[in-house]
Amino acid sequence: MSVHQISFQLNGTAVERTVGPEVLLVDLLRDDIGLTGTKIGCSIGVCGACSILVDGALMSGCLLPAIMVDGRAVTTIEGLADGEQLTPLQDAFIRKGGFQCGICTSGQIIAATALLASNAKPNREEIKEWMMGNLCRCTGYYKIIDSIEDAAGIDRANV
């Protein structure tokens, strides 16, 4: 069966790989490249644990054959912080308790990153609507929403 030379930007760095067409992006990231921050949950595009950005757009790494990101820019949770300097969202998730067991956290932060890139000051309903596809099995949803509001500089006492 065919193999393909693909090249793409991964967290700002050029990556080249030879892959079979059946290899999913989430497996390439975790098993081949070794970036295990992107998690595998349901594997059917429902839970959001494998959320990644492709050219800035939020997608499921488990539904995306790696060949489909040839020539595009992929961002994973590892690509957000600048060295030790966390993004405001990462910082807020820590300070506001935006995670419990942590399995969904990479996906939550990637999804919230895409939200704030398209809507810098979302209201609570907009946050809920956007984040609806990222499931938290610990049910820590309120603190996730609080973290996103905090990162967006929204002071809920004054909303």
Binding site: M1, S2, H4, G20, P21, E22, L24, S43, I44, G45, V46, G48, S51, V54, A57, L58, M59, S60, L63, L64, P65, I67, M68, A111, A114, E129, W130, M132, G133
Partner: protein
């Protein structure tokens, strides 16, 4: 997932040539949200997958000269959901795209892929049936035909698309002057679910209160998306009052043939078809409800 040969196409001609070369063995891949899952489950096992992601002719949304709307098959749901052209055409159309699954799926899945997948519970088909849209289909040698949306779907996950054909775009004719569009997806479980039942209505009422235009598309109420022709005929030309609409909407029960599943029994869905058909027409027409 069983492996396969991947052949990316760069133009419609190249996609059709690859399809002619590999025939039954081949499947097109658009966004991949449906095909990848079906391949993982072994429900579809193509030897060759033809990629359409690098075919620019299949993308884009434009208003046609007559005031209609043309949407390229590879346009993602999210692009259509946020399209100013689509909003200017009829806001209920992009809004209907905005209730599909989650934003991740909408960033990846395409309108053409959605139609070809032919799942009867999908959101775009009932809306496009109500809008009297057609599927613009091409085959080798510049041959093209338009398939009316309501006859595109032939059975559960089956379409009337020929073995040598590719969906190029969806063509929506202009809305009749004064007509309005609405889509209601009944979701008693979770927001990212498939519809339990869904109803799309295009409705026109003149100054005398007479129904001048009515098309009704139904989702999740049979093995294909459906059109509620009996309800339409009962109301066209009638002066619409609450009781007239109520009586006509009851006819929808005999037009649907829903399946029992986790979203409800066939009996329940049949009753919900009546409730939502009635409700959407009354609300859209501002009939018997305070404005």
């Amino acid at each position: 997932m069983r492996t396969f040969d991947y052949k990316p196409a760069r133009s419609i001609d190249e996609a059709l040539a690859l399809l002619a070369e590999y025939g039954d063995e081949a499947e097109f891949i658009a966004g991949g949200t449906s095909l990848v899952l079906m391949m993982q489950q072994g429900l579809v096992q193509p030897g060759v997958v033809i990629g359409l992601g690098a075919v620019p002719e299949l993308r884009g949304i434009k208003r046609s000269a007559d005031g209609g709307l043309e949407v390229g098959a590879m346009t993602t749901h999210r692009v259509l959901e946020t399209s100013p052209e689509a909003f200017a055409f009829a806001a209920a159309l992009p809004k209907a795209l905005g209730v599909i699954a989650t934003i991740r799926v909408r960033n990846q899945a395409t309108l053409g892929g959605n139609l070809v997948h032919a799942d009867p519970a999908q959101d775009p088909p009932p809306v496009l049936i109500a809008l009297d849209a057609s599927v613009d289909v091409v085959s080798a040698g510049d041959a093209a035909r338009l398939i009316p949306m309501e006859s595109f779907f032939t059975d559960y996950f089956e379409t009337s698309l020929g073995d040598n054909e590719l969906v190029r775009s969806v063509k929506v004719p202009p809305m009749p002057a004064g007509s309005k569009l609405a889509y209601k997806k009944f979701l008693p479980r979770t927001e990212d679910d498939y519809a339990t039942v869904s109803v799309a209505v295009r409705l026109g009422i003149d100054d005398a209160g007479t129904c001048t235009d009515l098309r009704i598309g139904l989702g999740a109420l049979g093995v294909t998306p459906l059109r509620a022709k009996a309800v339409e005929s009962a109301l066209l030309g009638q002066r619409l009052t609450e009781s007239v609409v109520r009586d006509a909407a009851a006819l929808v029960r005999d037009e649907v043939d829903p399946l029992d599943d986790v979203r409800g029994s066939a009996k329940y869905k049949r009753e919900m078809a009546r409730v939502w058909t009635e409700r959407v027409i009354l609300q859209l027409g501002g009939i018997g409800v305070p404005a």
